[in-house]
Amino acid sequence: MSAAEAVYYVVAVVAILSALGVVLAGNIVHAAIFFILALGGIAGFYLMLSVEFLALVQLIVYGGAVTILILFALMLTRARERPQALFGKTRPLGVVASLALLAAFIGASVGTDWFEQTPRGDIEPVPFQELGDVIFTVWIVPFILIGILLSIALDGAVLLAVPDEED
């Protein structure tokens, strides 16, 4: 096992444990803190897969924007002031269903021959410049559409959250 591989498994353990913390924590704010840690672990995965650009985007978008939004939503819905049951009545069924899904996924991953997808030699880092070239030439139409979608969604979020006149 190489050093890079060992680092990958350490990051994997951190990410999985903090993801479990998100799902199992008994305190909502603790769950949010575990969520930040899990997102950091996923940014680490991107780094290990040598896609530095996505790691940076992950840290900025998730570590900054999404986390702040979620903490504000927790604050606005006063999640801490009224302690109540955090889990629904169907919890055992949910656990069983997710474990069955996991078993299916692991069975499919182990049972497939990945020879075609096995790199011969080292993985080179994804170059920023080529990635930018591809985004702004081949993928330019989806890129513009997704920009329009993002502005519409954010405008809609503001419209939804602003109180009505009569309130």
């Binding site: 969520f35 629904g88 996991l102 959250a161």
Partner: protein
């Protein structure tokens, strides 16, 4: 680098944890957090396939898909949290099993 199977299994574990959160939690914000975990696991899978299959020919499709998934997830979380805040103002709860206006 770890073999592709192990990367896929780690991503599958994170996805299954997200599914468990969506199916077991009551609070809408916690469900959204679990949903984000699922989206992250899927985009990690795409990046893994893009990177492992990439050696020798430049193919950025999986990476660009992951980028688009991040944008969609950001839009989705902003909109969904707006709805949660709005629902809290109207119904004074953020629990999905108490938001039952459509239940007969």
């Amino acid at each position: 680098m770890p073999p592709l199977e192990n990367v896929l299994i780690v991503n599958a574990i994170i996805f299954a944890i997200g599914v468990m959160g969506v199916l077991t939690r009551r609070n809408a914000v916690l469900i959204l957090m679990s949903l984000e975990l699922m989206l992250n696991a899927v985009s990690l899978n795409m990046v893994a396939f893009a990177v492992y299959g990439r050696v020798g020919f430049g193919n950025f499709t999986g990476i660009i898909f992951a980028l688009f998934i991040i944008v969609i997830a950001a839009a989705e979380v902003a909109l969904a949290l707006g709805i949660v805040v709005r629902t809290f103002r109207n119904r004074a709860t953020a629990n999905v099993d108490e938001i039952n206006l459509l239940k007969w």
